[in-house]
Assembly symmetry: C2
Homo-oligomer: 477 residues x 2
Amino acid sequence: MLCLKEINPNVKNMKNLDFFMICKRARQITEELRQGAKKPYQQVINVSSGDPQRAGVKPLTFVRQVLSACLYPELLTRDSLPADVRQRAQRILGECVGGSVGSYSAAAGIPGIVHRLSEFISQRDGGIPSDPENIYISPGSQWALQNILNLLVKADGPLRTGVLTPGPGHRVTTVSIMGLGAVSVPYHLDEDRGWELQVEELHRALEEAKGICNPAALYITNPGSPTGQVQSRKSMEEVIRFASEKKLFLLADEVYQECVFGQKSEFLSYKRVLFEMGSPYCDTVELASFHSASKGFMGECGLRAGYVELVNIDPKVMKYIYKLFSKDSCAPVLGQIALDIMAKPPQPGDPSYPLYHTEIQNIRNTMAHNLKRVSEVVNSLPGVTCQPVEGGAFAFPRVHFPPKAIQKAEELGMKPDTFYCMKILEEVGLLLSPGCDFDQKSGTHHIRFCVLVSEEVMEDLLQGLSCFHLQFMKEFS
Amino acid sequence: MLCLKEINPNVKNMKNLDFFMICKRARQITEELRQGAKKPYQQVINVSSGDPQRAGVKPLTFVRQVLSACLYPELLTRDSLPADVRQRAQRILGECVGGSVGSYSAAAGIPGIVHRLSEFISQRDGGIPSDPENIYISPGSQWALQNILNLLVKADGPLRTGVLTPGPGHRVTTVSIMGLGAVSVPYHLDEDRGWELQVEELHRALEEAKGICNPAALYITNPGSPTGQVQSRKSMEEVIRFASEKKLFLLADEVYQECVFGQKSEFLSYKRVLFEMGSPYCDTVELASFHSASKGFMGECGLRAGYVELVNIDPKVMKYIYKLFSKDSCAPVLGQIALDIMAKPPQPGDPSYPLYHTEIQNIRNTMAHNLKRVSEVVNSLPGVTCQPVEGGAFAFPRVHFPPKAIQKAEELGMKPDTFYCMKILEEVGLLLSPGCDFDQKSGTHHIRFCVLVSEEVMEDLLQGLSCFHLQFMKEFS
């Protein structure tokens, strides 16, 4: 029988996320509750991931109406759906092979949808052109990222391929990098300055990688996940110059581009800044920019669709990108349709616009409310500091644990933030993510929770967190 | 800029499918027709893939009704949907996190659906137990296969990992194997005996691999794709004994299990035969069995969902399988729901049963008609022989090209069957797949087309093929 010794060493090297252990306990607790166990809570509130619909945010009606009409075109013959829903569904069905969402699409996606995504990108970027040939739709942006990483990894050199990744950063990305046999080279964001990215830190990280691996790419999340900062144009220009000088492929995870909340913050895409910097950057720096139907206000995580736009890639290399995406047939067609609506939402004058506008505004209002409450409540807790959430979907507060808590965690063989997350799950029924999964700076501890949740869930969360935290600090003081 | 030299050598090694070139030309022709070009046909008929809805097969009403109600639960409040549709949708929504198909599910899939898949498997296999913990839903069965292959590949030994694959076999599988840095070791199916798998040929292939690679797995498709044979119990037992003796991981692609048409053919799963062989096989031979919502009568390719069931895997290794599936969040939730319906279709007495039964029966009748017609027409063409299609979704006739045709193809730098497919596309508007993409035996030539198509498409296909072929043979005789 296949034993551990015999499996792919790259797969074996994949980082163990403490989150999996916490999730496992959450599933057990849910089952215990189902079987009638008495606990101080009725259900587990899961705010560990960026999954708004899980946490009470309602789906957008227009999205669901178009999707259901595409699936069951009989609905198009009835007057119960708004005219623009029916028109959209009809147009998309006309673009599906065989007129059905049940057929495979082209490997990169339904051509009409890919085309409209390119228009969306161009409009977002103040008119900078976007070529549909450079866009690939995939079952989620992380999956597109894996295909691009796969292209960059070389197993045959004396050194492994390195990818510079933010600390704290997206936990699954580092796991994927390891799974491909590459090495993640963390650069630290400056927590005290609102998680700013300092270009000196990029230089330090690159220097430290010398002789250990062969850095080929720089991965950025903007707006930051889990850190919530929004990069300034100046900072992005520094990053681009650095990538250009060091010949690094730029991987820009921009899935939270719609979620910008800071009064002075504005989302600028890496592609836009790159093009506005002019030559030599605009035509040499290689860039892959990722976006998704899962993140942002649409929040359709279950549909599984994202896309990547590629910039400045050698046409000979593009052929291999086509091959990589082709081997997996195509992205889910219904997710592709969600991306179509993201690219072209209802416009003023359309029958669905008033409701669509109201729903988006409600989510914005909820976010404003939630962020205000997080800032008030979390920062008032002893030993907790939370940088302002300028964008994204997460709060990532730092917890300064009392020495006794650290000691207790050690006795249990756990990291302090994992210990904290296990305990809050057990006692209050709150499922959070521990900072140790996110390449946080050594010696610091954090917890992560989603803020793109309904106001009710947010109040339950903050109340649970406050009660638990005060008790925790008392217990270990 | 990243040049070809610098990309992942495994990706660079991925086989070039001639099919991509033919598809590219098909897209151009479609565009030319759209712009008013005059050709002897109005549209390209694409029968190159196993994609029934593309080729005029209607989706199953029950599937589409349940999916649309899950997406837009407002539909549940109306009486226009049958009661069992509403019940099914309500049950599934109750199992979705946050009551929405827009939330991520567990990495392996929605637990209720995984559980019902295990019941379906157990019932299919005459009561042999199936543990839900061993089932992972993924965005298509090929994608699950890639995760399992990824586990088996070792890049650090002196020899590459080998996977025994059928010739002719599934073209994307061999591409995936190469992309992972492994080696595909072809074993040939015996065309003259209806594409039978001969165990002596497995021994020969394994022997030939000695010193070249380190074979770790044996990949089987049953019913065969593109070859259409259905394995007998005796043949499967031989394969299992061989895998056991040679310590090979058995990868059983059983996505066409529902599509068995031969009067004397019966689908038996590898798991069933393995268990009915008793010790030592039933508790030592490692097996991964793949199934899909894309194939079979449901034919929902665009939803992207399949699953793998794992048998006899060390629990320590199962942890890494969990990791591999976790890094990609989860399979599309709507595809998961299609699998739920595949596992538990409407039953006699249910309001939707009569229509469901009629629709399935219509597809069966269409298949019976199509296979009869294929056998009559294709075998009557000069220089063409087609083995009987006992199962699956493809006909894979052999074409004996006249020497002048082979010479002409050579002049054009093409393989003969690619030349044939390019020419039939250009002249008749038929998009077929060339046999050279499928690891056919050297010196033989084939074409592949889908037979799970509407009767109208089948008649157009056979008429186009006949006219073209007679003209072709005349031209090159």
